[in-house]
Symmetry: C2
Subunit: 140 residues, 2 copies
């Protein structure tokens, strides 16, 4: 068991080293998506330690840029995120974390941090219904 975990760890280490393009602060942006509903929950950042910790524990860990520390998502709120899979993009500089959230992702208590709408498509516009296009969303 110990041995198996060790070799698995080494394999992933190699893969992380090859595939992931950390920025000049050693971070990558991470899109977090609810694996069941497809809802985009938040954008956070990981350094290598946060990624390794996420993989070894199966729970989302990030790097808090405001507090400059490793951040186990939900450690205080209990709103942890169980990781279903981690995907990475064509450039290797962004991760997609598909998770099963155990509660709201947002510190405001909202399910998703993207709870506010800036503009919305109103159709192509007609003489009767006005100009259409992308216009401000009604206030929630």
């Amino acid at each position: 068991m110990e041995g198996e975990q060790g070799s698995r760890g080494a394999e992933e280490q190699g893969r992380l080293g090859v595939e992931i393009q950390w920025d000049d602060q050693g971070l990558v942006p991470v899109i977090v998506q609810d694996a069941r509903t497809g809802q985009v929950l938040m954008l956070a950042y990981m350094n290598r330690e946060a990624l390794e910790k996420s993989i070894s524990t199966g729970e989302a860990h990030f790097w808090s840029r405001s507090r400059s520390e490793l951040w186990h998502k939900g450690a205080t709120s209990s709103n942890t995120q169980r990781i279903v899979e981690i995907r990475y993009d064509c450039d290797g500089d962004t991760l997609l974390l598909r998770v099963e959230p155990r509660g709201p992702a947002c510190h405001t208590g909202q399910q998703s941090c993207f709870y506010r709408c800036l503009v919305k498509w109103q159709g192509p516009g007609t003489k009767d219904q006005g100009p259409g296009g992308l216009t401000s969303c009604p206030d929630p």
Copy 2:
């Protein structure tokens, strides 16, 4: 019509100024999601001009960090993205663009830039089936 567009523009300008937190390079990360399927397609960046252009045309425009220029997504490939709505997060420092893509989002020809899997949850692990947890995805 002209007047209506003008005032709508001014209103959105004000809103953009208040709500969006541009980083020290004048950019925000933008998550692009297929509005119909929920698939996350790519992460890109916008400056204020790209956001204004996206809103005025209804098609996704980004700031290309590698080419340092405004980038009308799909201008050369024809794989444009019609914007359904733009959402923003609790901190106002990330946008979520929900789009109807007219073709693959990725320059590799893949529908999504996140076509590669790093690790996947294999279950809690049992004596018979091995350690479980998050392990490397099989090669595609």
